[in-house]
């Protein structure tokens, strides 16, 4: 089963004008995500796979699928590292 990403349940977030602001209480930080990060944050509300993120980025930014997959992996890994998303099986 492909790995899924979901919003870390310990975080709080709001999307304003298309940009997500997320508080991670463990380190008491506010993260203001860029447009791509914000799209992923919204997609991850109900859980999403890397393939679903890549497909969304391909549609939104008209980039080729290989690049979108690379970007999706990079963004998701970064958001997981910051405690904003978590990876689940």
């Amino acid at each position: 089963m492909p790995q899924k990403f979901r919003q870390n349940p310990r975080t709080a977030g709001r999307v304003i004008d298309g940009l997500a602001s997320v508080v991670t209480p463990d380190d008491n930080k506010l993260h203001t995500l860029n447009k791509t990060g914000s799209r992923i944050w919204v997609l991850a509300e109900n859980g999403c796979t890397l393939e679903e993120v890549a497909a969304d980025l391909t549609r939104a930014y008209d980039v080729d699928p290989a690049r979108a997959t690379d970007d999706a992996r990079r963004f998701c890994d970064d958001l997981v590292a910051r405690g904003i998303l978590e990876a689940v099986e």
């Binding site: 349940p9 310990r10 975080t11 709080a12 977030g13 709001r14 304003i16 004008d17 940009l19 602001s21 508080v23 209480p25 008491n28 506010l30 203001t32």
Partner: protein, 275 residues
């Protein structure tokens, strides 16, 4: 003693009557009296109390830990001159706070500030590191960290216009039926406490010292980022984080926010439309 600060009704009990008198003596107009307080606050004085916080930790550094229980979230707070717990109940009902520490007024006031920062977001309000000026019809807030010029601008505007000071360190903003309301608090910086006052909040300004005066509107996401940096909030668990972020997001959605570059002269009043 019953107090009302920023719309929060506080049942305040201090074991040492003289310490309580010293605390509230400079505070004018903050007496409350509602039957059901929002906060039950007890402070037990211990002469010469010194906690575990290292001497070289800069003021006002706090230690803070949150534990979720069946009754709600229990915060443990400690600093060099005081320590205690705040229970934020899961359901409606008052916060229960029990502190002990030094009888000095700053020690007690610091515990009250922390308590207020947890109580306000439950009603959609925020305690903001900000100065303010107000007339009867509107209030302007000026936010920034220490040294940003909060005391300077609020004192200067009050001296050179008909506006009165709404505070120079911490003010409260709460949603009302017709928009946000700014509240004075007795928690003051260099300029000292102001009497209780409220006014409809017209705008928030994030201060930048500069050679000339200039006011620029801020996009909402950037306003939220700057506001959260200056909101007094203890977010060690999701519920408190969600309440504070939700209140701040509602604030920037309704209250115009600006970057205010200002120099140390009263000409800034013109940029702000203050007469």
């Amino acid at each position: 003693m019953q107090l009302r600060i920023g719309g929060i009704e506080i049942d305040l009990r201090v074991s040492d009557a003289e310490a309580l008198a010293r605390l509230v003596e400079p505070w004018t107009g903050y007496r409350g009296g509602a039957a059901e307080p929002d906060v039950r606050f007890e402070y037990h004085t211990i002469d010469g109390y010194m906690g575990e916080q290292p001497e070289d930790t800069p003021y006002p550094a706090y230690g803070c830990r949150a534990e979720t229980t069946s009754a709600g979230v229990r915060y443990a707070i400690w600093r060099r001159d005081s320590r205690g717990t705040i229970l934020v109940p899961r359901q409606d009902g008052p916060l229960h706070c029990r502190f002990e520490g030094n009888p000095g007024r700053w020690a007690i006031e610091a515990c009250l500030r922390v308590t207020m920062s947890l109580a306000l977001p439950r009603d959609g309000g925020l305690m903001i590191h900000s100065a303010g000026v107000a007339s009867e019809r509107r209030a302007l807030l000026f936010s920034g960290p220490s040294g940003a010029g909060k005391t300077t601008i609020s004192t200067m505007l009050a001296e050179h216009s008909r506006e009165r000071r709404l505070g120079d360190d911490l003010t409260v903003a709460r949603p009302g039926e017709r928009g946000w309301i700014a509240h004075a608090t007795p928690f003051a910086g260099e300029a000292g406490p102001v009497p209780e006052a409220t006014a409809p909040l017209e705008a928030m300004h994030f201060l930048v010292k500069a050679a000339r005066h200039r006011r620029e509107p801020l996009a909402k996401p950037e306003a939220l980022r700057r506001l959260m940096r200056n909101v007094m909030a203890y977010v060690r668990e999701r519920e408190a984080a969600d309440r504070a972020l939700g209140a701040a997001a509602a604030f920037v959605a309704e209250v115009p926010c600006y970057i205010l570059e200002f120099a140390r002269d009263p000409g800034v009043a013109r940029v702000l439309g203050v007469t």
